[in-house]
Symmetry: D2
């Protein structure tokens, strides 16, 4: 049976008159879009445009909730109780569901944003809060979780559909965590290198750590970026490389279905 | 057959540490709650508390969307295009639907807030924008509209369930519009007077204008307030007066069902 | 005596991670910068960057206050009382003064933004509210006012220093008002045409209306834009054209001093 | 020479239609008001009302800056860089200076709010960032710092006027830190007990820790609260107790002058 993988990206991260990234270009490459829901980015008009763009491209729609922090673009850690966090996530998912109704689609996954994603990856209480919000609003929502993180654990514990996510452009430590951005070279920029790494990850079900250790992991989805023109080029290279290797690029519901 | 009427109130209009009105007291009196959705008031935690309180009291849940204006509490007119307004309304309804899922309830009506309610009452384009948002998100949502306003017209034009709303504590002009607050005596404060007016409105299906003209109107719902202790007393008097007159107090879905 | 004119531009209209326009390029062309103050755009970090950039370029610093509306970028009309508006303006001026202290500069002018600018141009009560805020915070602040508008009247009535502003890229009606953007051709885009118009305005102290009528007006400042690459080109052409015609390009305090 | 002490309180912590605490009552008791500046609470209209109230009561005016977090009321820790924090503080001080101009007063002190105050008490980098903002905007601003905290250290390092603050209603550990609120009894509620403690602190220049250890400390100011009726009663008792003990109650500039 042919290998398959999902490609996802964070999208709709402008706000009002402000734009961020080339959503239209990226939408042609990915199969699942994680759409900002108004707290760190993404106003109702932008959200409507993004669900429309996703529907036109046959891309599955997910919520990309973040902290309530436009100024910090959701990249600042904010110390909230799990309960507050949970309701904040539910709110954002619901808001996007309403927008998805405009194009007759369902929201099918949730991928947290920025500092919230980092915190939930490390902290099971927060990861469970995200999961409980998802389960309450729609128990079929797919939890996109960094492979090996507390989010993966939370999804399993709550019985939510789980998509293990890998990084295309970050090095990994031997323990399976992402190498800190503070380490030189931790973030890859070369489109060919990124493509080759990703094809290996997917076809071999393993990640090679920065020391050369082989880590076995079965990924369901890979996260692409579109905030810079070079990122769009790398995204395109990844897709082409995977297709050339015979890997089928599918939506998240198809991947898990 | 016995007369019936719905009693509704705007609720959950605090924000974070700030409170507004006595929601707990009012929830014992009304049968439908219009809950603020985060734009003019109402954060996710407050929304969760309100849907819980509503469910405990068997009160039906509605969205109370307003302008994106915490400072102005949604009382400032903001000039938005119908399209922007529509998506803003859809967003807020969706957010509340997610919170209602916590108590296994549906959002069953929409009542706009403050300046938005005033503008949509006067302007058919805006009233239709509100209605299209409702119809897209859930075509069974009940449009709570000031009787005789453009919102009533919009609900009829869109084929949405319509609840004609009357005011308990405002005088009416001969043309059926509310007397401007700028006219002395336009707002009633005496609980007994308010109760007697309301009982007449409901049992006789007519409103007596401030010049004494009898206006025939069949109301489905009456709006109560809880922002001041005297308002809660008046609300209680209204409910008792109606029950003493043999009028059944029902939820909005029961009223229209 | 040689003619002189000020060139100003609205700046610092990004927010957090979001950018807007090419401030660095425009700062080389203009002599006075109107810096967004956090309500429609412009967070504290952006404001700090802009005052630094202005100081490096010998550009005088002004406040560019707008409505409290990030989503609408201050382009939506909001119905506030003159009193509320006045304190909102004072607040924003004060905030920018603090940032200007970082570069040892004073805020020397105020130019309102977007919908607020349009409303204050039409409505004397609002224009006076802006002026009272200025006068309270620093009576030497220069009121940048559309020539012939209610803002000009307000500045004169309050005895504030007044800079009459002309538009580089908009047609004028016979009565001296800007031609509505809804009229085809009301906004000019060709850099050469814009340059020639501006040189005529400044050297002849007259504006030619779209019907050909000559309107005598002595302008102190012209507003340039940098939101699109073509706008920066036009700005550069304007500056070069004026200098070629022997017009001195000065800061607002130099212009009025 | 007679003993003197300042009494201060956080004020103006409502927002738009929402109120918080009894500012009018507290203003009669304290001599210095720390006024919220719009980020965690306090809109321009509220700020104007508070500076007016302070001026009428001869109370000195200070800024009470907090995190950009209306929902969390500035009580959530937000991870910002010292540089971002610094500009955010400067912004808020400047905004209040503009409002103080309405009553011909200067802002004379800065007291940080909530989570920001807790973080700056623990972290010298953040405490220095607050101090640098103060020093840039006005080098005479008094830094109100929890006695013994990193803020005290920062004020000394930067050469800013320093007011050492004590708590009226919190127990202290043997090391001079406030006993955690999680420890039963850490917060005092009885007005008489609070009064007696405070009189001892001020007349003897010592705090008795919860284990009975005597900690020598010379306080310049004590923080009172007005968020509950009982807090206002305790504040009044503190003032009366101090006056009965011959302690003069003065403004912060008088205390340090």
């Amino acid at each position: 049976m042919a290998k398959a993988i999902n490609l996802n990206a964070d999208m709709g991260e402008g706000y009002g008159a402000w734009e961020m990234g080339d959503d239209a270009a990226l939408m042609k490459i990915i199969r699942s879009a994680s759409i900002a829901c108004g707290f760190h980015a993404g106003d109702p008009v932008t959200m409507h445009r993004l669900v429309s763009l996703a529907a036109e491209n046959g891309v599955s729609i997910g919520a990309h909730p973040g902290f309530n922090d436009l100024w910090g673009f959701g990249r600042r850690r904010i110390d909230m109780s799990p309960r507050e966090l949970e309701y904040m996530i539910a709110y954002q998912i619901g808001a996007l569901q309403a927008m998805a109704a405009y194009v007759g689609q369902k929201v099918t996954h949730v991928k947290t944003h920025g500092a919230l994603n980092n915190m939930a990856a490390e902290n099971l209480d927060l990861a469970l809060a995200v999961g409980r919000a998802m389960k309450t609003v729609d128990r079929d929502l797919i939890y996109v979780a960094l492979a090996g993180s507390q989010m993966e654990k939370a999804a399993l514990e709550l019985g939510l559909p789980l998509a293990r996510e890998g990084s295309c452009d970050r090095l990994y430590d031997d323990d399976g965590n992402l190498t800190s951005r503070k380490i030189a070279g931790a973030v890859l920029h070369d489109a060919d290198e990124i493509r080759d790494r990703v094809v290996h990850m997917v076809t071999e079900d393993e990640i090679v750590s920065r020391t050369g250790k082989r880590l076995k992991v079965k990924l369901d989805t890979l996260c692409l970026h579109g905030d810079e023109p070079s990122a769009v080029l790398a995204a395109r290279a990844v897709r082409q490389g995977l297709e050339a290797a015979g890997v089928k690029i599918v939506t998240l519901p198809e991947m898990l279905g």
